[in-house]
């Protein structure tokens, strides 16, 4: 092991993934890649097993569980815990509405006047009306809809309605996703081009790079409503304004990630290509670009998530238009909580699918390039 920090890089890079932690993750991926490139494979494997977290600590009891327990079971447990908490939270959140509704329909409920009930705490009201608990999970306009209500609304609005219908969530999701994808492709393409320019031109590097980094610390999402309204005033509506917002939100992460990636080959590797008398173009295609792939995928995932948020926020000023953002806004105007939650879950599904697809492409690409086994 001739490179310090190698063992740590391997153990971390192989063991954990943190999608949200862009910089650290990139650094880690880079370390892994550098190690693969620089040392023999045998070194890597032995490093991993020695320095894996807790490897030296005896834990024979846990080994038996290893297979199932390390994969699906813990995740299922956490998800089940969240669902249980959710159902439990529905009771105090909805109890006031449920009891009021019960009174309106002539059922017995304590206390008898509305004012008294309003002044009562949620838990006292539950204690006074234990029968009402079951009904807190099936209200029409609950403050917090129960999970099964959201799922059934999702099912109804995706499967039972034609995808071209305005009530269909597929219709709205596609309106958002198409803008996201167009913007994402534009932003990523321009970002890669600028990164290539920055790596090859000193003036560009020194002028643009500090601003590209600084742009990640400012809430550029705030200009989304303005972009939509200004473009609408010059006659551009529909998909393009949203795509533009998506483009600039994915642009900067890609620039910063790709610059890091294209610079990731170390001096020794660059020197090797120099001894081969490789031109700048050859160095780019044969060393810099392949070396940047892990960084590219890390920033693509961040960029895709940001693009989707951008498209959703871009739909807010348009009011009753199309898209998941418009659906959220309409739901909040009319107090349709179940509609808000189902739109939110649809957005989550779309985001997870896009990031998941990028992750799958990443795995295939890196495996074919021999960077990851």
């Amino acid at each position: 092991m001739w490179r310090t920090g190698c063992a740590r890089g391997c153990a971390r890079g192989m063991g954990t993934t943190c999608e949200g932690t862009s910089a650290k993750r990139m650094a880690r991926v880079g370390k892994t890649y550098g190690t693969l490139y620089g040392t023999r494979r045998g070194d890597r494997v032995s490093d991993t097993s020695i320095s894996a977290p807790g490897a030296a600590v005896g834990r024979s009891a846990r080994v038996a569980l290893a297979g199932f327990a390390s994969g699906v079971l813990p995740v299922l447990t956490v998800v089940a815990a969240i669902l249980a908490l959710w159902y439990a939270a529905c009771v105090p959140m909805n109890i006031h509405g449920t009891v009021n509704l019960a009174r309106q329909h002539g059922f017995e409920a304590m206390p008898t006047t509305r004012g008294e009930r309003r002044d009562m705490g949620a838990f006292a009201l539950i204690a006074a009306n234990p029968v009402a608990i079951a009904f807190t999970w099936s209200e029409d306009k609950p403050r917090l809809p129960a999970p099964h209500q959201v799922v059934s609304e999702l099912w109804v609005s995706t499967v039972s309605v034609a995808p071209t219908d305005k009530r269909s969530l597929v219709f709205h999701a596609w309106a958002t996703l198409s803008a996201t994808l167009v913007g994402f492709v534009i932003g990523t393409g321009l970002g890669i081009l600028l990164a290539v320019g920055i790596v090859h031109n000193r003036a560009m590097d020194m002028s643009v790079m500090p601003w590209a980094i600084a742009s990640q610390t400012i809430p550029i999402l705030a200009i989304a409503p303005m972009v939509v309204v200004v473009l609408a005033s010059v006659g551009l509506t529909g998909l393009l304004p949203k795509a533009l917002i998506s483009a600039y939100l994915s642009f900067f992460p890609v620039v910063v990630g790709m610059v890091k990636g294209l610079r990731s080959p170390d001096a020794m590797q660059l020197d090797l290509l120099k001894t081969y008398y490789a031109s700048k173009t050859q160095t780019f295609w044969k060393l810099r670009l392949p070396a940047s792939m892990p960084y590219l995928f890390a920033s693509l995932k961040i960029g895709a998530a940001a693009s989707l948020v951008g498209a959703i926020v871009g739909e807010l000023p348009s009011g009753g238009g199309q898209g998941l953002g418009a659906r959220l806004l309409a739901g909040s105007y009319y107090g349709q909580t179940i509609q808000i939650w189902s739109a939110l879950f649809m957005a989550a599904i779309v985001a997870a699918s896009v990031v998941g697809i990028i992750g799958a492409v990443e795995r295939v690409t890196l495996r074919r390039m021999g960077m990851r086994t």
């Binding site: 030296a56 813990p74 000193r202 303005m226 926020v313 000023p317």
Partner: protein, 302 residues
């Protein structure tokens, strides 16, 4: 130190471009001339290799952009409802400092900062609790990663419905947004102390809490600060976007959405300038504290 001109081909190409632009429209020619001239100056300074170039070049580039923006807007008579000139925005900022300050306090101090502090503290606490069980860790990491990639800002209408139009609903949105990135980073960071370091603590007969406070939390600090930095950006975004869904008649998000509706774009840009300044100062402050706390980490060495 001497500045070198670009070589002849580049110079000629630039001249040709300027002349071509000037033939089409003299204003276009002027803008192109200013742009290429400043770019040549910037290129020359960055090639000179002077120590101060690192600071001067980006500042010059930013100033050049603002100058070009101003020139383009005044020369082409771009209407205010499309793009206000930087001078108009600066005038607006100078004229409405009271209003901007009120909005800043409402959105940043009350909404973003309180949610940020609560969310990050809660995430660290949960991470320390989860950390006691390997089983929970294995469950929380993928779920947290998944949640961190989701468009959580969409929960804004729900929280506005629950907690009203005031800053509390914004703090709740910010809390939810910063919680998961922070949780994932802290859980990952708590694994950072190596087995050998933990064994050393055991030979000192250190208990769980002593090991946690003396070794594992300090070792996790680079990860925790990474989470804090990511969250600092998310916090401001969350607070502003949440105001698009309903707010009292004060706040940066409120001002942006109403001014956009009135086509008062100079006000919008003024708010954006304040947001940008607040965002980068906030990030810078976190980075400064990071340098102070994790001075031992390789990334902080100079």
């Amino acid at each position: 130190m001497s500045l070198t001109l670009p070589n002849r081909t580049v110079l000629l190409a630039g001249m040709a471009l300027i002349v071509l632009g000037g033939v089409l429209d003299w204003r276009l020619g002027l803008v192109l001339a200013v742009w290429l001239g400043l770019w040549a100056l910037n290129a020359a300074i960055s090639e000179s290799g002077a120590a101060w170039a690192r600071y001067v070049v980006p500042v010059l580039f930013g100033l050049a952009l603002i100058l070009l923006w101003e020139l383009a807007v005044t020369l082409f008579n771009v209407p205010l409802v499309i793009l206000p000139a930087p001078s108009a925005i600066a005038a607006k900022i100078a004229g409405t400092t009271d209003l901007l300050w009120q909005d800043f306090v409402q959105t940043f101090v009350m909404g973003a900062l309180s949610g940020y502090a609560l969310g990050c503290a809660a995430a660290v606490l949960v991470a320390v609790l989860v950390d006691r069980s390997t089983f929970l860790q294995r469950g929380v990491l993928p779920v947290g990663n998944f949640m961190a990639a989701l468009p959580i800002v969409g929960t804004a209408p729900i929280f506005v419905m629950w907690y009203g139009f005031g800053w509390q609903s914004k703090a709740a949105v910010v809390f939810t947004m910063v919680f998961f990135p922070m949780l994932v980073n802290t859980v990952a960071g708590l694994k950072e102390a190596s087995a050998m370091q933990k064994d050393l603590m055991r030979t000192y007969a250190a208990g769980y809490w002593q090991t946690l406070i003396r070794l594992r939390l300090p070792a996790a600090m680079p990860f925790i600060f990474n989470g804090l930095k990511i969250s600092s950006t998310l916090a401001l975004i969350g607070a502003i976007v949440a105001e698009f869904f309903g707010s009292p008649i004060v706040g940066m998000g409120f001002r942006i959405s109403t001014s956009v509706g009135q086509l008062a774009l100079d006000m919008v840009w003024a708010e954006i300038a304040v947001a940008a300044l607040a965002g980068s100062l906030f990030y810078g402050a976190v980075a400064l504290v990071e340098r102070w706390v994790t001075f031992w980490h390789p990334s902080q060495r100079r």
